[in-house]
C-alpha cells in the first residue's frame, strides 16, 4: 500500500489551488455559501465561474480533450473535485447533474449527433440540464413512474408530472425518464429523452426548501412535442441506462471536502473565541468533539479515495459508492451539529442576522444536511444496496 500522491499529482493540486485563488470572485465570498445557488446574483456568478472552469477543461475533467474536457485520470479528478469544494468554488449540484450524470450517460448511450450537439457545450459550461426522474408517486421506487411519451408521426408527445427537479427554472434541457411501453413490465417500459425546456407545454412551479431557497421545482408536461431523435439510446431500455448512469464514478469526495471545510472553520473559531472566560479551544469537551470529527473525516475521505482508486485500476465500484455516500452524508449532519455546538448560542443565528458568524454557514449546513441523505437515493436505499449487492443478502 502507498497512501502518497505522486509528485505530479501534488503539483496538480497546487496548480488548482493557485488558479482558484484568482478565479473565485470576491463577491462570491459575501453571498450565502454552499449547497445551492440561492439568488439570481449567485447563479450568474457561478455560471460565469463554470464557463471559466470549462475553458480550462476542468468543468468536465473526465471528458476527452477533443470533446472539451481535460482527459484527466481518476486520481486527478478526485483532487480537482476536492479542491473546488474545499475552496467553496461556485459549483454545485447543477454541475454534478449536467456533467457527471447526463454528460456521461450521453457519451455512453447517445448517438453521434447527440454527442456532437451536447457534449462540447456541457464541457464549456454553456448549457445546464435538470433531472426529470422523480414523480409524486415515484421516489425511491423510481420504476413506478407514470409520465408518458407517446410516438406520434416524427414526434414524441409527453404528458405527466415530475417533481424535485433541481434548477429546472434555470435549466436549458431536461434529462427525462418517461414510459414508452405501458404494456411492458416495470424496468422494460421506459426510455430516456433530452427535452428542450423552452418547449411549449412545460410549466415550472417552484418548491422552496427549508433553507428558504428556491432550488427545486415541480415540472408539468402538457402535450409537449419533441422531435423523435430526442430519445437517447435504445427505446424501452431507459431503466438499464439510468441504472448505469447512477453507476458512473461518483466518489462523493465533495461531501468529505465540505466536512473538512466546516471543521477547519470551527477549529479556527474555537482558537479565537472565548466562552465563560475560557478559550473554546481549551474546553475539553469541544476538543474531544472536534478531534472525533477530524477522525471521522479521515475515514470518510478514505472511503471516497477508494472509489477513485478502484476506477483508476480499471475496476468498477459497486456497493462502495453507497458506503461513501452514507458515511459522508451522515457525517455532514454530525459535523454541522458539532459546529453548532462550538458556536454555542451564535450557531442559531441565520444568514443576514445581526451578529451572525461567517455568513451563518453552520446554521445553513445544519438545515441543508437534512436533505443530503435523501436526494440522489436515500440512505436506506443505499443500505439496501450494500446489503444485497455488496453482501449478497437475500432480497425477500
Amino acid at each position: 500500500m502507498d497512501f502518497k500522491f505522486t509528485a505530479e499529482e501534488e503539483a496538480f493540486r497546487q496548480e488548482v489551488k493557485d488558479w482558484l485563488k484568482a478565479a473565485i470572485p470576491p463577491r462570491w465570498r459575501e453571498l450565502p455559501t454552499g449547497f445551492w445557488q440561492e439568488t439570481e446574483e449567485s447563479w450568474k456568478l457561478s455560471r460565469q465561474f463554470q464557463r471559466n472552469l470549462g475553458s480550462k477543461g476542468w468543468l468536465a475533467p473526465a471528458y476527452p480533450v477533443e470533446l472539451g474536457g481535460a482527459g484527466l485520470g481518476h486520481i486527478k479528478r478526485l483532487i480537482l473535485a476536492e479542491e473546488l469544494t474545499y475552496h467553496d468554488a461556485p459549483v454545485s449540484i447543477e454541475t454534478e447533474i449536467t456533467v457527471n450524470w447526463v454528460g456521461m450517460a450521453l457519451q455512453h448511450f447517445g448517438s453521434e449527433q447527440q454527442k456532437k450537439d451536447y457534449i462540447p457545450r456541457i464541457a464549456k459550461g454553456d448549457i445546464i440540464f435538470c433531472l426529470g426522474y422523480s414523480e409524486p408517486n415515484a421516489g425511491s421506487d423510481l420504476a413506478s413512474l407514470q409520465t408518458r411519451a407517446v410516438e406520434q408521426g416524427d414526434t414524441y408527445v409527453i404528458n405527466g408530472q415530475k417533481t424535485w427537479c433541481s434548477y429546472a427554472h434555470y435549466a436549458d434541457y431536461c434529462w427525462l425518464g418517461a414510459i414508452t411501453d405501458p404494456d411492458a413490465p416495470k424496468h422494460h417500459n421506459m426510455s430516456m429523452f433530452v427535452v428542450d425546456m423552452k418547449n411549449p407545454g412545460i410549466t415550472i412551479r417552484p418548491l422552496i426548501n427549508v433553507i428558504g431557497c428556491h432550488s427545486f421545482n415541480e415540472v408539468f408536461f402538457d402535450d409537449v412535442r419533441i422531435p423523435k431523435d430526442s430519445l437517447v439510446g435504445v427505446k424501452n431500455n431507459g431503466w438499464f441506462q439510468l441504472a448505469m448512469a447512477l453507476d458512473f464514478e461518483r466518489s462523493g469526495v465533495q461531501t468529505a471536502a465540505v466536512n473538512k471545510l466546516l471543521l477547519d472553520h470551527m477549529v479556527n473559531y474555537a482558537r479565537t473565541n472565548k466562552r465563560g472566560g475560557k478559550l473554546l479551544s481549551k474546553d475539553p469537551i469541544l476538543r474531544n468533539l472536534m478531534a472525533e470529527m477530524a477522525i471521522e473525516i479521515e475515514v470518510a475521505r478514505m472511503l471516497c479515495y477508494r472509489i477513485a482508486w478502484i476506477y483508476s485500476k480499471g475496476g468498477h465500484s459497486n456497493y462502495e459508492s453507497s458506503q461513501a455516500m452514507i458515511f459522508g452524508s451522515e457525517l455532514l449532519r454530525r459535523i454541522s451539529d458539532a459546529g453548532m455546538q462550538v458556536l454555542g448560542q451564535y450557531g442559531q443565528l441565520a444568514y443576514g442576522s445581526h451578529r451572525a458568524v461567517a455568513r451563518a454557514e453552520m446554521c445553513r449546513s445544519y438545515l441543508a444536511s437534512l436533505s443530503i441523505g435523501v436526494g440522489g437515493g436515500t440512505n436506506e436505499i443505499q443500505r439496501n444496496i450494500i446489503a444485497m449487492r455488496g453482501l449478497g443478502l437475500p432480497r425477500k
Binding site: S134, S140, D141, R275, G277, Q348, Y366, L370, T378
Partner: protein, 377 residues
Amino acid sequence: MDLGLNEEQEMLRKSAREFLSKECPKKLVRELDESDTGFSRDLWKKMAELGWIGLPFPEKFGGNGGTLFDLIVLLDEMGYNIVPGPFFSTVVLSGFTLLEAGSDEQKQSYLSKICSGEMVMTFALTELDGTYLPKSIETAAKNKGNHYVLNGTKLFVPDANIADFMLVAARTKSSSNPEEGISIFLVDAKSPGVRVTLLKTLGRDKLCEVVFEDVKVPEKSLVGKLDSGWPIIKSILRKATVAKCAEMVGGAQASLDMAVNYAKERVQFNRPIGSFQAIQHYCANMVTDVDGSRFITYKAAWTESEGLPSDMEVSMAKAWTSEAYKRVAVLAHQIFGAIGFTMDHDMHLYFRRAKAGELAYGDADFHREIVAAQLGL
C-alpha cells in the same frame, strides 16, 4: 408510585390539544414565525381567559393556583402544537421570578397584570458569551442615590422586541465570587437608553440583543435583595430548564406522530414504507426516545415542584431531552424523504425548535457537567 396524570391534568391536556389545534393552526404558526413580532394578541387574550397564563400562580394575584407540574403538562401540549409568542418568557422566566423574589407590591402590580394577560415580560439574562454562568454577567448597575444606572449588552433575550417590561440581571458589586453581587431589576422596556435589535434565528423564535445605555431605573425596581440575585436566577433557571424540556417532549411526540402516520400512508414499491424494516426500526427508536424523555422530564418537574433538591434531575432531563428530540426530528425528516425538506411541510418547524430548545438554558454538555459534579466527580 403513580406515573399517571391526575384527572384535572388529563383534562388540561385534552382541552389544550383541542384548543390549540383550533386556535393556533400551523398557518398561524408560520405567520408568526415569519413576522417580526411573533405575537398574536388575539391568541394571548384567549390563553389568558382560559387561565393558562396565570396557571401556576396564586389566586390572590389573579392566578389559577396550580403547580409547576400543571404548567409542565400544558407546556408539553404547547410544544406538541407549537405556540409562538412570549408565553415562556412571560410566565416561566418572569412570573416565577416575581413570585419567588418580588415584593408584595411588585406582585400586586406586575404579577397580576401578567396573569390577566395585560403585560408581556421577559428576562434579560445572558450576555455576549451566551452562557448561563454567573461570571458572564457583566452588565453593570451603579447606585446613584435614589436610582440605578444600567449599562451593558444582553444577547439572546427572548421576546424583548414586544416585552412591556424586562427583568435584568446586573452586577451591583464586584466580588471574587462571581455568584455574589448580582441583582435583578425590573425595567420598563420603553425607558430611554434601552435599544432592542431582533436577531434572525434558526428557530425563528424572537431572540434579541438588548443594549442598555445609561438607563435610569428607580431604586424600587430592585427585585429581591441587593447583590443576592444569583440564587433566585438559579432557581428560575431550574424551572425554565425543565419547562423547556416539557415543550421539547411535546415537539418530539408530534414529530413521531407525524412520521408514523406518514409511514402508514406513503406507498413505494407497492407497500407502505412503514412496512420496511429500516423505517420500522427508526420508529421504534423514536418512540423510545420520546417516552424516555417524557419520563425523565416529568420526574424532574415533579422533584422541583415538590420543592426537593432537583439540580441533578433537571440537568439529566435537559441533557437527555436535548439530544433525544434532535434524534427524533432527524429521523422523522428521513422518513418524509424530500417532501419534508420543503418550507411548506410542517416538519422543519419542529426540527428548528429542537435545535433552539437544545441551546436554551444549557445544552447537553453543559448539563452533563452538572450531573458529573453532582455525582461527586
